[in-house]
């Protein structure tokens, strides 16, 4: 009995593997595409702001103003400087996005400093890139404040902050984005693999043959979910290996917990993919449904802005989002060494999602016939 069961499941699994794996082009796409993206995105995507180009309108032309500007020139954050002598050119440089920041020094700058009366410096940033503008003008104010501190002799009452960034002492953006990218790439691959699998058979008409075969719906479910799970798991582990070996991101957690968490996260995503596939008649419907699921799932996973910052209704909605838990687990175990009980709290919702979606998917296998 059991042997028969295993034989049938194995046969279906073999067929699934052949569909995905036999074509060398398809093999290359499954393996090479995610790895290439991992290498490109992790090197390119950073929210640190560097290479800031600046336009300067220095009406003071004094020793003090040149001293301040030289501090900007020596900062590694700032790149090219354009010195202009009128408002019009100043505005034009900002309008056309040749520069991201403008520094406007008034003509009484030097007098204000010498007389200790005080003076202003205008720092203008290009709000069309709101985020980098805010960060860039933060750097600029910092430079001005350092100069200030020197002018006042760095004395008097002040708060002297010591900042410690746990788990990532230099706040390397790469450490963060790498874990996010791995989760995203595994998500994309798993969803496409699973969502097309039933829809493709339905579109080509082979699904009816599968249903009238001796396979039970549970056996179909196993045969349809194990191959993509194995492929996605292998791919994820390869990517994690690349992160550790080539990017030198320290892995502080337990490898065993990490493995289990990734497996269950992927299982939940396999469930979602198969469920989508089971309700779609064509591959086009499947892939468009995947997009409709994936876009909110990625954007509301806490990757771009933190979940506790969202409106309450959306916060509750994220409990249905497997990607949310996937990200918490992968980052938590990888960078923070999350303990067993916290891992379990995050795994339970994933198991619930997996059970519900897989059950729903297997029920449609039988219902759709007839």
């Amino acid at each position: 009995m059991i042997r028969e069961f295993l034989r049938r499941v194995a046969a279906l699994m073999k067929k699934e593997f052949i569909t995905i794996w036999n074509d060398p082009k398809s093999r290359a796409i499954i393996v090479a595409m995610p790895i290439m993206q991992l290498l490109i995105f992790s090197n390119a995507a950073t929210m640190e702001v560097r290479n800031i180009d600046t336009v300067v309108l220095d009406r003071s032309q004094s020793v003090e103003s040149r001293e301040l500007l030289s501090r900007f020139e020596n900062s590694p954050r700032f790149r090219n400087f354009y010195y202009v002598d009128n408002e019009k050119e100043f505005q034009e440089k900002l309008d056309t996005q040749r520069v991201q920041i403008g520094i406007n020094i008034p003509n009484d700058f030097s007098r204000g400093i010498k007389s200790k009366r005080g003076t202003n410096v205008q720092i203008i940033s290009d709000g069309r890139q709101t985020n980098s503008a805010a960060i860039g003008s933060g750097y600029a104010s910092q430079i001005v404040n350092l100069y200030n501190a020197e002018l006042t002799g760095n004395s008097g009452t002040q708060i002297n902050p010591t900042v410690r960034n746990w788990f990532n002492p230099n706040l390397e953006y790469k450490w963060y984005i790498l874990t996010v990218i791995v989760a995203m790439l595994s998500l994309v691959t798993t969803l496409i693999l699973t969502s097309l699998s039933i829809a493709r058979e339905r579109e080509l008409g082979t699904f009816d043959q599968l249903i009238v075969s001796p396979l039970s719906s549970f056996e179909i479910l196993l045969g349809k979910s194990i191959p993509p799970l194995v492929i996605a798991m292998t791919l994820t582990m390869i990517m994690v290996g690349i992160i550790i070996v080539f990017f030198h991101v320290p892995f502080v957690g337990s490898i065993f917990l990490f493995f289990i968490s990734i497996l269950i996260s992927l299982l939940a995503i396999v469930g979602v993919g198969l469920y989508i596939s089971s309700i779609c008649n064509t591959q086009q419907q499947a892939i468009l449904s995947v997009m409709t699921f994936m876009m909110p799932a990625v954007l509301l996973s806490g990757f771009i802005s933190p979940i506790e910052d969202m409106p309450l209704a959306l916060q509750y909605l994220t409990y249905l989002n497997p990607v949310r838990f996937f990200m918490v687990l992968s980052r938590g175990i990888f960078l923070k060494g999350m303990g067993t009980d916290d891992v379990i709290t995050n795994i339970i919702p994933l198991l619930v999602i997996a059970t519900i979606t897989l059950t729903l998917a297997s029920r449609t296998f039988k219902r759709k016939l007839g």
């Binding site: 709101t130 708060i159 010591t162 746990w166 960078l335």
Partner: protein, 371 residues
């Protein structure tokens, strides 16, 4: 001409028969704008932090209170470092402020008082918010506390201003930018499947054995999806400007004109993928990896292109959404800047024509082989 019309008619019928593509052209913009409006916030992010106060002077108690009153911070009081560590690992708090026991005595002596700020470095952005909130709240407190007389006033006042978006509202740039992501998806995803589907189902062979020419097949695919895409663009604009009241300072004509060029380029990528791969599974994998992901990661919407290493800055030059996002943000926020319009429209046109030529050439080759 007659053949072309027949092919367009056939394609439109196919679009109407499987309404998923029409649904997606209107549902996706709606979902995406809702998310970017309510779920994504890049300014004034609210964070929860822990506070451990070792200084029991009454003055410092008001500092702890001002953390509690800030609208950007939720604060939780802690007594020992171990609890703070556990809370950070669990992501219950994103950082902590530790006030040492000599804090107030140093301030009253006119010295520098140390303040320890801890952040959860595993979430780099949030860690930056924690840092800057902790510093600005404590400095504001200092400026109004009884120690304020001992502060040296800064001589140079750095007056920061943000042009084009004076309220610093990140939605004013992220929501228009999201139009580019949605349009990329719609353009690339819909078309990447169409030719592949015909090969998979065998209808392409049937088509090739008739008298149609390559130009008919290519235009017969471009035109219907162009119409659908433009309708979706209009719907996007309607949602952004009329429903969600994002300020639009540019010209509507320019918006549609350059969106049209962008759509032409996106359709080109999708058709190119599907002409080369002939298989819907592979076509959708590649469409995701070369369409959606680069649009999200390399277009400059989330991550500034200027900050990328030089090689990757060059790489972004072949990503059409990059030009479209630069155009759209400027059009929405700064109004018409001709130089920006012209430069971006030019690059998009070049990419679009290049892709069109590629699709045409590839289709022609197939035709010749089969005849």
């Amino acid at each position: 001409m007659k053949i072309l019309f027949a092919l367009i008619k056939k394609e439109i019928k196919q679009i109407l028969r499987d309404p998923s593509s029409i649904v997606i052209a209107f549902i996706l913009p709606l979902i995406s704008i809702l998310i970017y409006m309510y779920g994504v916030n890049l300014d004034s992010v609210k964070v929860t932090i822990g506070i451990k106060n070792d200084d029991n002077s009454p003055e410092v108690a008001t500092l702890v209170k001002s953390f509690g009153h800030s609208k950007y911070v939720n604060s939780i009081n802690f007594d020992n470092m171990n609890d703070i560590k556990n809370a950070i690992v669990r992501s219950k708090i994103k950082g902590a402020v530790v006030i040492p026991n000599d804090f107030s005595s140093k301030l009253s002596r006119g010295q520098k008082a140390d303040l320890l700020v801890i952040t959860d470095g595993s979430e780099v952005n949030t860690a930056n918010y924690v840092q800057s909130y902790a510093l600005s709240i404590s400095n504001q407190w200092l400026a109004t506390s009884k120690y304020r007389g001992k502060i040296n006033k800064p001589i140079i006042n750095a007056e920061t201003r943000m042009w084009y978006n004076p309220d610093l509202n990140s939605h004013h740039f992220i929501v228009p930018g999201s139009i580019a992501i949605t349009m990329t998806l719609i353009g690339i995803l819909l078309t990447s499947l169409v030719i592949a589907r015909e090969w998979e189902r065998g209808t392409m062979e049937a088509l090739l054995s008739t008298k149609v020419r390559a130009i008919h097949i290519v235009l017969g695919k471009y035109i219907p999806y162009f119409i659908l895409g433009m309708l979706s663009t209009a719907f996007n604009l309607f949602l952004t400007v009329c429903i969600f009241q994002i300020p639009f300072n540019g010209s509507y004509f320019m918006f549609f004109f350059i969106s049209g060029i962008f759509l032409f380029t996106s359709l080109g990528i999708g058709l190119m993928i599907s002409t080369v791969l002939k298989n819907q599974f592979m076509a959708s994998m590649v469409a995701m990896s070369m369409g959606f992901m680069p649009a999200l990661m390399l277009s400059g919407l989330m991550f500034p292109i200027n900050s990328m290493p030089t090689f990757f800055q060059y790489l972004t030059m072949i990503i059409p959404p990059r030009y479209y996002i630069a155009f759209i943000e400027s059009e929405f926020m700064a109004g018409g800047v001709n130089e920006i319009r012209l430069a971006n429209a030019f690059y998009l046109t070049v990419l679009g024509l290049f892709l069109f030529a590629g699709v045409y050439k590839k289709t022609q080759m197939r035709l010749e082989v089969s005849k």
